[in-house]
């Protein structure tokens, strides 16, 4: 007597309508690069080889918010040098592989605990706002949801309003995320000067995404190996909330992170059978729509068709 086949014990993918290694069109699509933007990645922490890899995988550009270097910087001059790196050197490295590099200026939430230093940094930011790759103020936000962090967050908002800048916002990690996101939304919603469609609230997850979208802001999903979202959970959120005002990013940095996480998301969308038009909207058209609200954003789509992976 033959043994009955246990439900679900067949090889992974053998019953998957998207994966047919010989003739299924969706399988062929999965072997094709799609152009995409990574709206949040910290390239100063990555190697030039990573730029090359991203270009090979279909990335056409990225935006890099100013962030914490892994240690607290000691003076405003450290930030000035960092801002020069973001507005000059990283553009050149990206350009070697045909990638457009954009950036955002701020003192991050973790170092914002030092109010005096933060105010000195905020004073020098206007010197960089006319640089051609600067999209706005970011990533500002909260880290441990303290009074000092909130104070500096509000002063960054004042700066953004004064110079008519877009805003990119970091929401806290893990147990602090829900509380911090709600506090950030309170501060944003309480400021009638802001245009909500020019504000991106990043690192949303299952318990925060609805609040951000319902209040009229853009939301970013960060694909991280352990914390934040996985590609599968990001696709779940797309299926639950739709593609409007949602972005996906790798937030690749100096810690455990994967700079090629956006292609992982693209593959997961395809494996679930979502149409190419939907995938393209999320990873390519949405970032362009959001960035286009910045006066410094200029982008010429590549004049070559999206290519099959070699």
């Amino acid at each position: 007597m033959s043994r009955p086949k246990a439900h679900g014990l067949q090889p992974v993918g053998s019953n998957d309508h998207n994966i047919d290694p010989t003739k299924n069109i969706k399988y062929r699509q999965a072997l094709t690069n799609m152009y995409y933007f990574d709206p949040h990645i910290h390239m100063v922490s990555r190697t030039t080889d990573d730029y090359e890899t991203l270009a090979k995988m279909g990335c056409v550009g990225m935006s890099e918010p100013a962030f914490w270097a892994g240690f607290d910087r000691g003076s405003v001059d450290s930030f000035r040098d960092y801002f020069c790196q973001l507005t000059d050197f990283e553009q050149k490295r990206a350009g070697m592989y045909g990638l457009k590099h954009f950036t955002w200026m701020c003192i991050n939430a973790k170092e914002a605990e030092n109010v005096q230093l933060s105010r000195e940094v905020i004073k020098i930011i206007p010197d960089f706002l006319d640089c051609p790759n600067v999209l706005g103020i970011g990533e500002i936000g909260l880290n441990k949801n303290t009074k000092n962090e909130a104070t500096i967050f509000l002063e960054h908002i004042d700066l953004a309003v004064e110079y008519s800048q877009q805003i990119l916002i970091h929401t806290p990690h893990l147990e602090d995320k829900f509380q911090g996101t709600r506090m950030i939304l309170d501060m944003l919603n309480g400021d009638s000067r802001l245009e909500r469609n020019r504000v991106l609230v990043d690192h949303v997850e299952e318990h925060t995404v609805r609040h951000v979208l319902d209040d009229g802001y853009w939301a970013g999903m960060t694909l991280y190996p352990v914390s934040k979202c996985t590609p599968a959970r990001a696709v779940d959120l797309i299926e639950m909330y739709g593609p409007e005002r949602l972005l996906v990013n790798s937030a690749g940095d100096w810690g455990p992170s994967k700079p090629t996480a956006v292609p992982d998301f693209i593959l997961e969308m395809r494996r679930r059978g979502h149409p190419e038009s939907l995938v393209r909207k999320i990873v390519y058209e949405n970032p362009i729509e959001f960035f286009s609200q910045s006066s410094n954003f200029s982008f010429t789509p590549p004049n070559v068709p999206e290519a099959a992976i070699q």
Binding site: H7, N15, D16, K147, F178, R182, M183, G242, G273
Partner: protein, 84 residues
């Protein structure tokens, strides 16, 4: 709204993956048990227990519920408290 895959297809595709994740959790609890000392009073263990109970419920938004279990509470009056 984007359509999710049919439920039987999701189960077919993810059966082994979910099985592996459950085993990882079980093995982690076994590892804690085998270790010297006790974590019985550690509040994180209570959070795990609450999360596992949520997992076994039939609510449609288990992931969001579990996120909330591991989250600090939000207080509407925080601005008054901070004076900002």
């Amino acid at each position: 709204m984007p359509q999710p895959m049919p439920a039987p297809d999701v189960l077919d595709r993810e059966f082994l993956e979910i099985r592996a994740k459950l085993l990882e959790v079980a093995a982690s609890f076994d590892r804690i048990d085998r270790g010297e000392g006790s974590v019985e009073g550690d509040p994180r263990m209570a959070l795990y227990r609450e999360a596992l109970e949520t997992l076994l419920s039939d609510q449609p938004n288990r992931a969001e519920q579990i996120q909330q279990i591991f989250s600090r509470q939000y207080e509407e009056s925080w601005r008054t408290k901070f004076g900002v």
